[in-house]
Symmetry: C3
Subunit: 354 residues, 3 copies
């Protein structure tokens, strides 16, 4: 990304309470205080970096109103209520430049079935396949090389990035973002073992993704055996995550990269799952629980649980055990010594040496 | 999915031994006994849910012949030998509606090399690329946006879903199903460290996938350094699984999501690998072994092994250790106390208090 | 792969110091000494397999000059300085047959924006989308169904395989190989929790991939929140790996399959990360460190660290603990016995039995 903002452009976006100093530099990038160079915008987002402001080379710095220092020559300080929020506003402006609003309409190369209903202000990009009975909502952007299967429904203001696959009968509500390579509605992993072979159990349910869900690149969500696999409103899912059939995920969860959730498990609202955590099937993780990275959960958890380890224990207990683990080799030696010591005491007293 | 079956349609599919009651409801969905509503089909698949039959709102219920209760008004019971098998038959019928038989032929947008041989009753969907020398067998469905590289061979009755990539020289036998985003035949991860750099070792083998294999979305299978990476007949692989170069997987294995199998490892017939398990390279996992989720296997396992943990131990031992782990902090205190106690005893006897 | 080399063709590639015996067989495959059949090429890459040379059925065998045995009738020995290097040369030749040099030019089905600059000797394959402002360097091969977003820059001699997605503003230097399904530049996983909802933090940085990097199938690399996510020169990344936003990976690292690296973490040069290892965010793994498979790293590591376990400990300590873990159930029993024994000793002496 190459920005070409003037300091005045930045000020127009962040609307500072007041400012100090001035710069004629074109702002071309954003950087942390320590890494910033001339022409960069930086910010004091965390008070612990306060001492770095005085030495930063950034041309424009976003600061809280109580910051007392003075800018260097050719440097401008913009004082705002919350520097991190102000920075987010600058980033949102940049994002519009990176991802300009697509032109509405169906690209001439796209293959759209005659019975599909695509909103007139939606965008269907090159090499997309939209099958029979599909609905694509208002202002939705189906970017490129996307596949949407028979009778799937995509809501308004969604964004399906290149290579996304949404299979037959699946439903996306509004403002859903699927990053490149996401697969919604692959078959659940269900077989019956009959006469020495795994016979397929047909997977005839679907996947429903509620409003404001975002799903990271190459994640996979399986359709239900029957009824629905559900991702609740506002939940955010990172890259390479696996959601099995009939899983029900609540609202406003955060599911980090490479998590795996096995079939028919329920994750209640506001749960946070750390990277590479694994959940067994047919369990419930209670509301607001936090699961540390790489943890393995094999049984129901009450609301507000905080777990770590594989198999997981309560976080504080697991951390204590982790500290003690290092001393296990020593513990074995201590028990050896205790056994020797006790044996010595038990021996019939040897004749006195003296 | 919206079904529109009458109760008579369901009966025609499951062919009940006998029935009780009657309903005029249109059957529109399938649900568990507890979740079912009017218009749903439900079933008693597991005796432990027997008590839920009396209160289910399902309009049609599949039951074993020895179930003694009576249907509610407007509810129909269909008695069948095995309700779960009967349900699977209904699901299979629904599946045909979800995934109707594709029309044979090559979509006008597909790019098919002149030397490729595509069976006349096969289907090649939009935006597929079929390179020189490829063979596509009878009734195989290459769905959309699929890539099949030079000289690859795809058998009969296969189904390659959107975005699948099968690279040059790879072989799929018959009735192989590859879900969206599967990559068959990426290069194995092989380098020689020469003069401070990793020099690529060319990967010139291929991948062979035997009959009746199914592979889940976004899984990856690497081509062999030389000779073959093999997946045996009837083996089922879930989503986001990694199969490295020169791995040999036997017949009728189940490999759950996010498993990783390192290079040159052999997995014998009927092995089950739980989700997120990892297998080191150059080892053999014996026939019929079961590996629990998140386990790590670093050495050969004899047939019938049942392992858990990272690094894995026999399942029962690992479970016992998991129970004892919680008491490790206490164990350290007990050893502290023992040391004090023993030291007290060893002390030269203090003058008697009495 | 079906080779059709004569023994003379092989000799022309490996240029032997001298040879013994002769064969008229056509060389059709490569196999290990034990697995080789008539018509195969084999090699003695590791002295421990020396005894297998006498009984191998391979028609041509690559051997070190000091190997003393004689070929069987119809078998040819080719003596070379380093058999594994000689074999790699044969494989490199085979690789050229598998992956013939693509014809330069833009496939008529590709959608290339008018402002994109594609080198005249580059290849853009079918169904690729090249957006505005993209640069594609000399001899680069954009194979099929690839998406390259606005203003992305791809260097010379790169190879982007089917289904690859490189999003807006990302940069690949020269000789970068991306296997099928790789996603470069998905959004980082960043949200601010505001009023009970996760509000998106725009991700406006990019990804920069330096010279000679290779990335395996379906791996994902997220764009930076701001500034850059970087993969250093010569680093090799396996399949299904997750690289989060603002990660900085050094030069000549090896990152095995299914590794996950969390946001803002730095991996210095020559680090090796075993399969399924996970790195927490905002940490630094020092130069030349080795992390065993499935390990979890939560804090900074000095250069040259060798770690194992989750949470990881120094490799040798973790291995010792792994050995002792099996004896933990016994340890609890020993401590029980010690407590009983000590209690007995502390008891006021019972009246003598004798």
């Amino acid at each position: 990304m190459q920005l070409v903002f003037s300091a005045a452009d930045v000020a127009a976006i962040v609307q500072p309470l007041f400012s100090k100093g001035a710069t004629l530099e074109t702002i071309r990038d954003i950087a942390s205080l320590g890494a910033a160079k001339t022409g960069d915008l930086s910010f004091l987002g965390n008070p612990k970096y306060k001492t770095e402001v005085a030495s930063t080379a950034a041309s424009v710095v976003l600061l809280p109103p109580d910051y007392a220092g003075e800018p260097a020559p050719g440097q401008q300080f913009l004082f705002v209520e919350k520097p991190s929020v102000a920075l987010a506003r600058v980033c949102a402006r940049i994002e519009q430049l990176l991802w300009p609003k697509p032109v509405a309409g169906v690209h001439p190369t796209a293959v759209v079935a005659s019975s599909a209903r695509v909103a007139s202000n939606a965008t269907i990009g090159p090499f997309c396949v939209i099958e029979e009975g599909v609905v694509v909502g208002e202002r939705t952007h189906v970017q490129a090389q996307v596949f949407i299967g028979r009778n799937a429904t995509i809501g308004a203001d969604c964004w399906l990035m290149p290579g996304v696959v949404v299979t037959s009968e699946c439903v996306l509500r509004d403002r859903v973002r699927l990053h490149a390579g996401v697969v919604v509605g692959a078959d659940g992993f269900g077989y019956e073992f009959v006469a020495g072979r795994h016979e397929k159990v047909p997977q005839v349910g679907n996947v429903v993704i509620e409003n404001d869900v975002e799903i990271g690149a190459n994640s996979t969500l399986d359709r239900a055996r029957f009824s629905q696999t559900v991702v609740g409103e506002g939940t955010k899912i990172d890259n390479l995550v696996q959601i099995a059939h009939n899983v029900r995920i609540g609202r406003h969860c955060l599911i980090c990269s490479q998590v795996g959730i096995s079939g028919s498990t329920t994750v209640e609202d506001y749960v946070v799952l750390g990277g590479q955590a694994g959940l067994a099937g047919h369990i419930t993780v209670g509301k607001g629980s936090k699961i540390d990275g790489q943890s393995g959960i094999n049984s129901d958890l009450p609301p507000g649980s905080f777990m770590k380890g594989s198999t997981a224990l309560p976080y504080n207990l697991e951390q204590r055990i982790n500290v003690l683990r290092k001393r296990i080799p020593d513990l074995f030696k201590r028990v050896d010594a205790l056994e020797s010591g006790l044996a010595d005491l038990k021996k019939p007293s040897a004749p006195s040496q003296s």
